[in-house]
Protein backbone atom coordinates (compact mmCIF):
# COMPACT_ATOMS: atom_id res chain seq x y z
CA UNK A 1 0.00 0.00 0.00
CA UNK A 2 2.54 2.51 1.14
CA UNK A 3 4.36 1.65 -2.07
CA UNK A 4 1.59 3.04 -4.17
CA UNK A 5 0.20 5.61 -1.76
CA UNK A 6 2.06 8.45 -0.13
CA UNK A 7 2.70 7.64 3.52
CA UNK A 8 0.14 10.35 4.33
CA UNK A 9 -2.52 8.69 2.18
CA UNK A 10 -1.67 5.34 3.77
CA UNK A 11 -2.07 6.85 7.21
CA UNK A 12 -5.39 8.41 6.19
CA UNK A 13 -6.77 5.10 4.95
CA UNK A 14 -5.72 3.22 8.07
CA UNK A 15 -6.98 6.03 10.31
CA UNK A 16 -10.35 6.15 8.54
CA UNK A 17 -10.80 2.41 8.86
CA UNK A 18 -10.11 2.48 12.57
CA UNK A 19 -12.33 5.45 13.42
CA UNK A 20 -15.18 4.20 11.23
CA UNK A 21 -14.97 0.77 12.85
CA UNK A 22 -14.72 2.27 16.32
CA UNK A 23 -17.67 4.57 15.66
CA UNK A 24 -19.78 1.68 14.42
CA UNK A 25 -18.88 -0.49 17.41
CA UNK A 26 -19.48 2.25 19.97
CA UNK A 27 -22.76 3.15 18.31
CA UNK A 28 -24.17 -0.36 18.23
CA UNK A 29 -25.25 -0.91 21.85
CA UNK A 30 -27.12 2.39 22.24
CA UNK A 31 -28.62 2.09 18.76
CA UNK A 32 -29.89 -1.42 19.48
CA UNK A 33 -31.23 -0.29 22.84
CA UNK A 34 -33.14 2.59 21.27
CA UNK A 35 -34.41 0.35 18.48
CA UNK A 36 -35.57 -2.20 21.04
CA UNK A 37 -37.41 0.43 23.07
CA UNK A 38 -39.05 1.81 19.94
CA UNK A 39 -40.11 -1.65 18.85
CA UNK A 40 -41.16 -3.27 22.12
CA UNK A 41 -42.45 -0.55 24.40
CA UNK A 42 -45.26 1.91 23.83
CA UNK A 43 -44.73 5.30 25.41
CA UNK A 44 -45.78 8.85 24.76
CA UNK A 45 -43.50 10.97 22.62
CA UNK A 46 -42.28 7.91 20.75
CA UNK A 47 -42.57 9.66 17.40
CA UNK A 48 -40.59 12.53 18.87
CA UNK A 49 -37.70 10.28 19.83
CA UNK A 50 -37.89 8.67 16.41
CA UNK A 51 -37.69 12.11 14.84
CA UNK A 52 -34.72 13.08 16.99
CA UNK A 53 -32.99 9.88 15.90
CA UNK A 54 -33.70 10.69 12.26
CA UNK A 55 -32.53 14.32 12.53
CA UNK A 56 -28.90 13.82 11.49
CA UNK A 57 -30.27 12.54 8.20
CA UNK A 58 -32.68 15.39 7.67
CA UNK A 59 -30.45 18.30 8.59
CA UNK A 60 -27.68 19.35 6.24
CA UNK A 61 -24.48 17.90 7.69
CA UNK A 62 -23.03 21.34 8.20
CA UNK A 63 -25.89 22.10 10.61
CA UNK A 64 -25.30 18.89 12.54
CA UNK A 65 -21.62 19.75 12.64
CA UNK A 66 -22.31 23.23 13.90
CA UNK A 67 -24.61 21.92 16.63
CA UNK A 68 -21.97 19.41 17.70
CA UNK A 69 -19.42 22.23 17.69
CA UNK A 70 -21.70 24.36 19.87
CA UNK A 71 -22.06 21.39 22.23
CA UNK A 72 -18.46 20.27 22.43
CA UNK A 73 -16.58 23.46 21.58
CA UNK A 74 -14.58 25.22 24.29
CA UNK A 75 -17.31 27.87 24.40
CA UNK A 76 -19.97 25.20 23.97
CA UNK A 77 -22.46 23.65 26.37
CA UNK A 78 -20.47 20.61 27.42
CA UNK A 79 -17.13 22.02 26.35
CA UNK A 80 -16.12 23.57 29.69
CA UNK A 81 -16.96 20.41 31.66
CA UNK A 82 -15.06 18.28 29.18
CA UNK A 83 -12.13 20.65 29.42
CA UNK A 84 -12.18 20.40 33.21
CA UNK A 85 -12.02 16.63 32.80
CA UNK A 86 -9.04 17.20 30.53
CA UNK A 87 -10.90 15.69 27.58
CA UNK A 88 -10.73 17.78 24.48
CA UNK A 89 -12.81 16.48 21.63
CA UNK A 90 -12.97 19.19 19.00
CA UNK A 91 -10.26 18.88 16.35
CA UNK A 92 -9.15 15.47 17.64
CA UNK A 93 -9.85 11.93 16.41
CA UNK A 94 -12.53 11.78 19.11
CA UNK A 95 -14.49 14.43 17.22
CA UNK A 96 -14.30 12.31 14.08
CA UNK A 97 -15.73 9.33 15.96
CA UNK A 98 -18.50 11.44 17.48
CA UNK A 99 -19.47 12.93 14.12
CA UNK A 100 -19.51 9.51 12.47
CA UNK A 101 -21.58 8.03 15.29
CA UNK A 102 -24.16 10.78 15.20
CA UNK A 103 -24.49 10.65 11.43
CA UNK A 104 -24.89 6.90 11.09
CA UNK A 105 -26.94 6.30 14.24
CA UNK A 106 -30.30 6.66 12.43
CA UNK A 107 -29.45 4.01 9.88
CA UNK A 108 -28.74 1.29 12.43
CA UNK A 109 -31.69 2.24 14.62
CA UNK A 110 -34.16 1.99 11.71
CA UNK A 111 -32.78 -1.30 10.48
CA UNK A 112 -32.77 -2.90 13.91
CA UNK A 113 -36.14 -1.48 14.91
CA UNK A 114 -37.89 -3.02 11.92
CA UNK A 115 -36.07 -6.30 12.48
CA UNK A 116 -37.21 -6.35 16.12
CA UNK A 117 -40.78 -5.59 15.04
CA UNK A 118 -40.72 -8.69 12.88
CA UNK A 119 -39.54 -11.06 15.61
CA UNK A 120 -42.41 -13.33 16.59
CA UNK A 121 -43.16 -12.50 20.25
CA UNK A 122 -44.45 -16.04 20.84
CA UNK A 123 -40.91 -17.32 20.46
CA UNK A 124 -39.77 -14.97 23.20
CA UNK A 125 -42.71 -16.01 25.36
CA UNK A 126 -41.87 -19.67 24.86
CA UNK A 127 -38.24 -19.00 25.79
CA UNK A 128 -39.38 -17.32 29.01
CA UNK A 129 -41.66 -20.16 29.94
CA UNK A 130 -38.68 -22.49 29.44
CA UNK A 131 -36.92 -20.55 32.16
CA UNK A 132 -35.01 -17.91 30.23
CA UNK A 133 -34.50 -14.51 31.86
CA UNK A 134 -34.85 -11.29 29.88
CA UNK A 135 -31.13 -11.17 29.10
CA UNK A 136 -31.14 -14.74 27.82
CA UNK A 137 -34.26 -14.04 25.77
CA UNK A 138 -32.53 -11.04 24.24
CA UNK A 139 -29.34 -12.90 23.33
CA UNK A 140 -30.82 -16.26 22.34
CA UNK A 141 -34.02 -15.09 20.65
CA UNK A 142 -34.48 -11.41 19.84
CA UNK A 143 -30.99 -10.62 18.55
CA UNK A 144 -30.37 -13.84 16.57
CA UNK A 145 -33.83 -13.65 15.03
CA UNK A 146 -33.28 -10.01 14.06
CA UNK A 147 -29.74 -10.55 12.82
CA UNK A 148 -30.55 -9.84 9.17
CA UNK A 149 -31.90 -6.39 9.84
CA UNK A 150 -29.15 -5.62 12.32
CA UNK A 151 -26.36 -6.62 9.95
CA UNK A 152 -28.05 -4.63 7.19
CA UNK A 153 -28.23 -1.59 9.44
CA UNK A 154 -24.62 -2.02 10.52
CA UNK A 155 -23.55 -2.09 6.89
CA UNK A 156 -25.37 1.15 6.10
CA UNK A 157 -24.00 2.73 9.27
CA UNK A 158 -20.41 1.72 8.53
CA UNK A 159 -20.69 2.86 4.93
CA UNK A 160 -22.13 6.18 6.04
CA UNK A 161 -19.32 6.56 8.58
CA UNK A 162 -16.75 6.06 5.83
CA UNK A 163 -18.43 8.66 3.64
CA UNK A 164 -19.21 11.24 6.32
CA UNK A 165 -17.85 14.66 5.45
CA UNK A 166 -19.98 17.66 6.34
CA UNK A 167 -20.25 17.21 10.07
CA UNK A 168 -16.73 15.84 10.53
CA UNK A 169 -15.02 18.75 8.82
CA UNK A 170 -16.66 21.16 11.25
CA UNK A 171 -16.03 19.44 14.58
CA UNK A 172 -12.81 17.63 13.73
CA UNK A 173 -11.34 19.92 11.15
CA UNK A 174 -9.41 18.54 8.20
CA UNK A 175 -6.01 18.11 9.81
CA UNK A 176 -3.55 15.86 7.95
CA UNK A 177 -1.98 13.19 10.18
CA UNK A 178 -4.57 13.95 12.83
CA UNK A 179 -8.22 14.06 11.82
CA UNK A 180 -8.17 13.83 8.05
CA UNK A 181 -10.34 10.89 6.91
CA UNK A 182 -10.51 9.62 3.36
CA UNK A 183 -13.65 11.67 2.69
CA UNK A 184 -11.97 14.82 3.95
CA UNK A 185 -8.82 14.13 1.98
CA UNK A 186 -10.80 13.41 -1.17
CA UNK A 187 -12.77 16.62 -0.70
CA UNK A 188 -9.59 18.59 -0.23
CA UNK A 189 -7.91 17.07 -3.28
CA UNK A 190 -10.98 17.91 -5.35
CA UNK A 191 -10.91 21.47 -4.00
CA UNK A 192 -7.33 22.05 -5.10
CA UNK A 193 -7.99 20.36 -8.43
CA UNK A 194 -5.82 17.34 -7.69
CA UNK A 195 -8.37 14.76 -8.86
CA UNK A 196 -5.46 12.51 -9.79
CA UNK A 197 -4.82 12.08 -6.07
CA UNK A 198 -8.52 11.83 -5.19
CA UNK A 199 -9.37 8.83 -7.39
CA UNK A 200 -7.02 6.33 -5.72
CA UNK A 201 -8.49 7.14 -2.31
CA UNK A 202 -11.98 6.80 -3.76
CA UNK A 203 -11.01 3.40 -5.15
CA UNK A 204 -9.89 2.35 -1.68
CA UNK A 205 -13.14 3.34 0.00
CA UNK A 206 -15.08 1.53 -2.71
CA UNK A 207 -13.00 -1.59 -2.08
CA UNK A 208 -13.58 -1.35 1.66
CA UNK A 209 -17.30 -0.93 1.05
CA UNK A 210 -17.28 -4.02 -1.18
CA UNK A 211 -15.57 -6.06 1.51
CA UNK A 212 -18.06 -4.86 4.12
CA UNK A 213 -21.02 -5.76 1.90
CA UNK A 214 -19.52 -9.14 1.13
CA UNK A 215 -18.84 -9.93 4.78
CA UNK A 216 -22.37 -8.85 5.67
CA UNK A 217 -23.80 -11.13 2.97
CA UNK A 218 -21.90 -14.14 4.25
CA UNK A 219 -22.76 -13.50 7.89
CA UNK A 220 -26.45 -13.29 7.05
CA UNK A 221 -26.48 -16.30 4.74
CA UNK A 222 -24.44 -18.31 7.24
CA UNK A 223 -27.25 -17.83 9.74
CA UNK A 224 -29.69 -18.27 6.89
CA UNK A 225 -28.67 -21.89 6.40
CA UNK A 226 -30.40 -22.86 9.61
CA UNK A 227 -33.43 -20.64 9.34
Amino acid sequence: MTGFFSSEAAWTIWFTLRVAALATILMTPPALAVAWLLSRKTWTGKSIVETLVALPLVMPPVATGLILLKLLGRRGVLGPDLERLGIDVVFTWKAVVVAMMVMSFPLLVRGARIAFDDVNPRLEQMARSLGAGEARVLFTMTLPLAIRGIVGGLLLAFARALGEFGATVLVAGNIPWKTSTMSLAIYNFVQIGRDDRAWPLLAVSVTICFLAVWIGETVVSRRGRLV
Binding site: L123, Q125, M126, S129, L130, G131, M141, L145, L226
Partner: protein, 239 residues
Protein backbone atom coordinates in the same frame (compact mmCIF):
# COMPACT_ATOMS: atom_id res chain seq x y z
CA UNK B 1 -52.75 -29.66 42.45
CA UNK B 2 -54.06 -27.06 40.08
CA UNK B 3 -56.85 -24.75 41.10
CA UNK B 4 -58.47 -22.38 38.62
CA UNK B 5 -60.81 -20.04 40.44
CA UNK B 6 -63.35 -18.00 38.51
CA UNK B 7 -60.85 -17.12 35.80
CA UNK B 8 -62.31 -14.84 33.15
CA UNK B 9 -60.58 -13.87 29.91
CA UNK B 10 -62.18 -11.97 27.01
CA UNK B 11 -61.90 -13.75 23.67
CA UNK B 12 -63.42 -13.16 20.24
CA UNK B 13 -67.17 -13.61 20.58
CA UNK B 14 -67.38 -14.90 24.12
CA UNK B 15 -65.17 -14.80 27.20
CA UNK B 16 -63.33 -17.80 28.52
CA UNK B 17 -64.77 -18.58 31.94
CA UNK B 18 -63.06 -21.35 33.90
CA UNK B 19 -63.56 -22.57 37.43
CA UNK B 20 -61.92 -25.94 38.10
CA UNK B 21 -59.98 -27.89 40.68
CA UNK B 22 -57.83 -30.59 39.13
CA UNK B 23 -56.95 -33.28 41.66
CA UNK B 24 -56.54 -35.93 39.01
CA UNK B 25 -53.14 -36.52 37.52
CA UNK B 26 -54.13 -36.29 33.89
CA UNK B 27 -57.05 -34.17 32.86
CA UNK B 28 -58.15 -34.30 29.26
CA UNK B 29 -59.73 -31.18 27.82
CA UNK B 30 -62.13 -31.75 24.96
CA UNK B 31 -64.40 -29.45 23.04
CA UNK B 32 -65.23 -28.15 19.63
CA UNK B 33 -62.91 -25.96 17.63
CA UNK B 34 -62.76 -22.52 19.10
CA UNK B 35 -64.08 -23.59 22.49
CA UNK B 36 -61.20 -21.99 24.37
CA UNK B 37 -58.97 -24.98 25.06
CA UNK B 38 -55.78 -23.34 23.87
CA UNK B 39 -56.71 -20.11 25.60
CA UNK B 40 -57.15 -21.96 28.86
CA UNK B 41 -53.73 -23.57 28.56
CA UNK B 42 -52.07 -20.29 27.65
CA UNK B 43 -53.71 -18.64 30.64
CA UNK B 44 -52.16 -21.27 32.91
CA UNK B 45 -48.80 -20.97 31.15
CA UNK B 46 -48.98 -17.22 31.68
CA UNK B 47 -49.07 -16.27 27.98
CA UNK B 48 -52.50 -14.72 28.40
CA UNK B 49 -53.52 -12.67 31.40
CA UNK B 50 -57.14 -13.01 32.47
CA UNK B 51 -59.20 -10.04 33.56
CA UNK B 52 -60.38 -11.80 36.69
CA UNK B 53 -59.77 -14.84 38.84
CA UNK B 54 -57.04 -16.80 40.54
CA UNK B 55 -54.77 -19.68 39.57
CA UNK B 56 -52.98 -21.83 42.14
CA UNK B 57 -50.47 -24.64 41.56
CA UNK B 58 -49.54 -26.83 44.54
CA UNK B 59 -50.72 -24.07 46.86
CA UNK B 60 -48.55 -21.42 45.20
CA UNK B 61 -50.50 -18.57 43.70
CA UNK B 62 -49.54 -18.14 40.05
CA UNK B 63 -52.09 -15.48 39.36
CA UNK B 64 -54.49 -13.36 41.36
CA UNK B 65 -56.03 -10.70 39.17
CA UNK B 66 -57.78 -9.04 42.09
CA UNK B 67 -54.61 -8.87 44.19
CA UNK B 68 -52.70 -7.84 41.06
CA UNK B 69 -50.36 -10.80 41.56
CA UNK B 70 -49.04 -12.42 38.39
CA UNK B 71 -46.10 -14.82 38.40
CA UNK B 72 -44.29 -14.40 35.08
CA UNK B 73 -44.14 -17.43 32.74
CA UNK B 74 -40.47 -17.80 33.55
CA UNK B 75 -41.15 -18.60 37.20
CA UNK B 76 -44.19 -20.84 36.68
CA UNK B 77 -42.19 -23.96 35.77
CA UNK B 78 -44.94 -25.16 33.48
CA UNK B 79 -44.07 -27.31 30.46
CA UNK B 80 -46.17 -26.26 27.48
CA UNK B 81 -46.60 -28.05 24.15
CA UNK B 82 -48.34 -25.41 22.04
CA UNK B 83 -50.72 -26.35 19.27
CA UNK B 84 -48.48 -24.65 16.70
CA UNK B 85 -45.19 -26.10 18.03
CA UNK B 86 -43.54 -22.66 18.30
CA UNK B 87 -40.11 -24.20 17.85
CA UNK B 88 -37.05 -21.95 17.72
CA UNK B 89 -36.39 -21.70 13.97
CA UNK B 90 -32.78 -20.56 14.31
CA UNK B 91 -31.66 -23.50 16.48
CA UNK B 92 -31.10 -27.14 15.68
CA UNK B 93 -33.42 -29.78 17.10
CA UNK B 94 -30.82 -30.52 19.78
CA UNK B 95 -30.53 -26.89 20.83
CA UNK B 96 -34.32 -26.66 20.93
CA UNK B 97 -34.42 -29.63 23.27
CA UNK B 98 -31.63 -28.34 25.50
CA UNK B 99 -32.90 -24.78 25.68
CA UNK B 100 -34.47 -25.20 29.11
CA UNK B 101 -31.47 -26.96 30.64
CA UNK B 102 -29.17 -24.30 29.16
CA UNK B 103 -31.36 -21.85 31.02
CA UNK B 104 -30.74 -23.77 34.23
CA UNK B 105 -33.77 -26.06 34.25
CA UNK B 106 -31.88 -29.34 34.35
CA UNK B 107 -33.86 -32.53 33.97
CA UNK B 108 -32.90 -35.74 35.82
CA UNK B 109 -29.76 -37.41 34.43
CA UNK B 110 -30.36 -39.63 31.40
CA UNK B 111 -33.69 -37.97 30.76
CA UNK B 112 -32.45 -36.39 27.53
CA UNK B 113 -31.47 -39.72 25.99
CA UNK B 114 -34.66 -41.33 27.17
CA UNK B 115 -36.89 -38.61 25.68
CA UNK B 116 -34.92 -38.58 22.43
CA UNK B 117 -35.26 -42.34 22.19
CA UNK B 118 -38.99 -42.45 22.85
CA UNK B 119 -39.72 -39.61 20.45
CA UNK B 120 -37.34 -41.15 17.89
CA UNK B 121 -35.43 -37.90 17.43
CA UNK B 122 -31.85 -39.19 17.19
CA UNK B 123 -31.54 -38.85 13.41
CA UNK B 124 -32.90 -35.32 13.58
CA UNK B 125 -30.84 -33.88 16.44
CA UNK B 126 -28.55 -31.77 14.25
CA UNK B 127 -31.25 -30.72 11.76
CA UNK B 128 -32.63 -27.25 11.33
CA UNK B 129 -36.28 -26.87 12.26
CA UNK B 130 -37.21 -25.83 8.72
CA UNK B 131 -36.11 -29.24 7.51
CA UNK B 132 -38.53 -31.22 9.67
CA UNK B 133 -41.80 -32.84 8.77
CA UNK B 134 -44.98 -31.91 10.58
CA UNK B 135 -44.93 -34.88 12.90
CA UNK B 136 -41.25 -34.45 13.57
CA UNK B 137 -42.02 -30.91 14.68
CA UNK B 138 -44.68 -32.11 17.09
CA UNK B 139 -42.29 -34.58 18.62
CA UNK B 140 -39.61 -31.93 19.11
CA UNK B 141 -42.18 -29.70 20.81
CA UNK B 142 -43.20 -32.51 23.15
CA UNK B 143 -39.57 -33.31 23.91
CA UNK B 144 -38.73 -29.69 24.63
CA UNK B 145 -41.56 -29.46 27.16
CA UNK B 146 -40.67 -32.77 28.83
CA UNK B 147 -37.04 -31.67 29.17
CA UNK B 148 -37.92 -28.40 30.91
CA UNK B 149 -38.31 -30.25 34.24
CA UNK B 150 -41.83 -28.90 34.76
CA UNK B 151 -44.22 -29.11 37.72
CA UNK B 152 -47.15 -29.28 35.33
CA UNK B 153 -47.44 -30.34 31.70
CA UNK B 154 -49.79 -28.55 29.29
CA UNK B 155 -50.19 -30.49 26.06
CA UNK B 156 -52.26 -29.01 23.24
CA UNK B 157 -52.91 -32.00 20.99
CA UNK B 158 -49.35 -33.23 21.37
CA UNK B 159 -49.93 -36.24 19.14
CA UNK B 160 -51.95 -34.58 16.39
CA UNK B 161 -50.81 -35.83 13.02
CA UNK B 162 -48.79 -38.70 14.41
CA UNK B 163 -49.00 -42.24 13.17
CA UNK B 164 -50.99 -44.54 15.47
CA UNK B 165 -48.06 -46.84 16.24
CA UNK B 166 -45.87 -43.97 17.36
CA UNK B 167 -48.83 -42.37 19.13
CA UNK B 168 -49.21 -45.46 21.27
CA UNK B 169 -45.54 -45.54 22.18
CA UNK B 170 -45.50 -41.85 23.11
CA UNK B 171 -48.74 -42.17 25.05
CA UNK B 172 -47.37 -45.02 27.09
CA UNK B 173 -44.27 -42.96 27.79
CA UNK B 174 -46.31 -39.97 28.92
CA UNK B 175 -48.19 -42.39 31.16
CA UNK B 176 -44.86 -43.47 32.67
CA UNK B 177 -43.77 -39.84 33.12
CA UNK B 178 -46.99 -39.18 34.94
CA UNK B 179 -46.42 -42.18 37.23
CA UNK B 180 -42.65 -41.87 37.84
CA UNK B 181 -42.40 -38.15 38.31
CA UNK B 182 -46.04 -37.66 39.21
CA UNK B 183 -46.22 -34.58 37.00
CA UNK B 184 -49.86 -33.60 36.57
CA UNK B 185 -50.93 -33.03 33.01
CA UNK B 186 -53.52 -31.03 31.12
CA UNK B 187 -54.11 -32.67 27.81
CA UNK B 188 -56.15 -31.29 24.91
CA UNK B 189 -57.31 -34.09 22.63
CA UNK B 190 -60.03 -34.93 20.15
CA UNK B 191 -59.65 -38.66 20.01
CA UNK B 192 -61.81 -40.56 22.46
CA UNK B 193 -59.44 -43.52 22.44
CA UNK B 194 -56.43 -41.34 23.18
CA UNK B 195 -58.27 -39.74 26.07
CA UNK B 196 -59.49 -43.05 27.42
CA UNK B 197 -55.99 -44.39 27.37
CA UNK B 198 -54.17 -41.56 29.12
CA UNK B 199 -56.59 -39.40 31.07
CA UNK B 200 -58.13 -39.91 34.49
CA UNK B 201 -60.65 -37.17 34.04
CA UNK B 202 -62.23 -35.34 31.15
CA UNK B 203 -63.37 -31.71 31.07
CA UNK B 204 -65.52 -30.56 28.17
CA UNK B 205 -65.35 -26.91 27.10
CA UNK B 206 -67.76 -25.14 24.81
CA UNK B 207 -67.88 -21.48 23.91
CA UNK B 208 -65.43 -20.76 26.70
CA UNK B 209 -67.37 -22.49 29.46
CA UNK B 210 -67.06 -25.90 31.14
CA UNK B 211 -70.08 -27.88 29.98
CA UNK B 212 -69.21 -31.35 31.16
CA UNK B 213 -66.85 -33.20 33.41
CA UNK B 214 -66.27 -36.77 34.57
CA UNK B 215 -63.97 -39.73 34.92
CA UNK B 216 -62.40 -40.57 31.57
CA UNK B 217 -63.76 -44.12 31.45
CA UNK B 218 -67.29 -43.15 32.35
CA UNK B 219 -67.36 -39.91 30.38
CA UNK B 220 -70.51 -39.50 28.32
CA UNK B 221 -69.25 -38.94 24.77
CA UNK B 222 -71.90 -37.06 22.87
CA UNK B 223 -73.16 -38.71 19.68
CA UNK B 224 -70.53 -38.54 16.99
CA UNK B 225 -67.80 -37.58 19.39
CA UNK B 226 -66.51 -41.06 18.94
CA UNK B 227 -66.08 -41.19 15.19
CA UNK B 228 -66.61 -44.96 15.11
CA UNK B 229 -70.27 -44.53 16.00
CA UNK B 230 -70.79 -42.03 13.23
CA UNK B 231 -70.15 -44.04 10.15
CA UNK B 232 -73.32 -42.91 8.43
CA UNK B 233 -74.15 -39.34 9.40
CA UNK B 234 -77.26 -37.75 7.85
CA UNK B 235 -75.92 -35.20 5.29
CA UNK B 236 -76.16 -32.22 7.63
CA UNK B 237 -73.97 -30.42 5.14
CA UNK B 238 -76.52 -28.28 3.28
CA UNK B 239 -76.99 -24.77 4.64
Amino acid sequence: MLRIVHVELPLGEFPLFAHLDMESRVTAIVGPSGAGKTSLLETIAGFLTPRRGRIELDGEILLDAEAGRNVPPRARRVGYVPQDDTLFPHRTVRRNLTYASDAGRDSPAGEFDRVVAVLELEPLLERGISKLSGGERRRVAVGRALLSHPRLLLCDEPLAGLHPELKVRILSYLKRVREEFSIPMLYVAHDAAEVAMLADEVVALERGAVVGRGAAKSFAWSEGMNIRTARRPEPSAQP
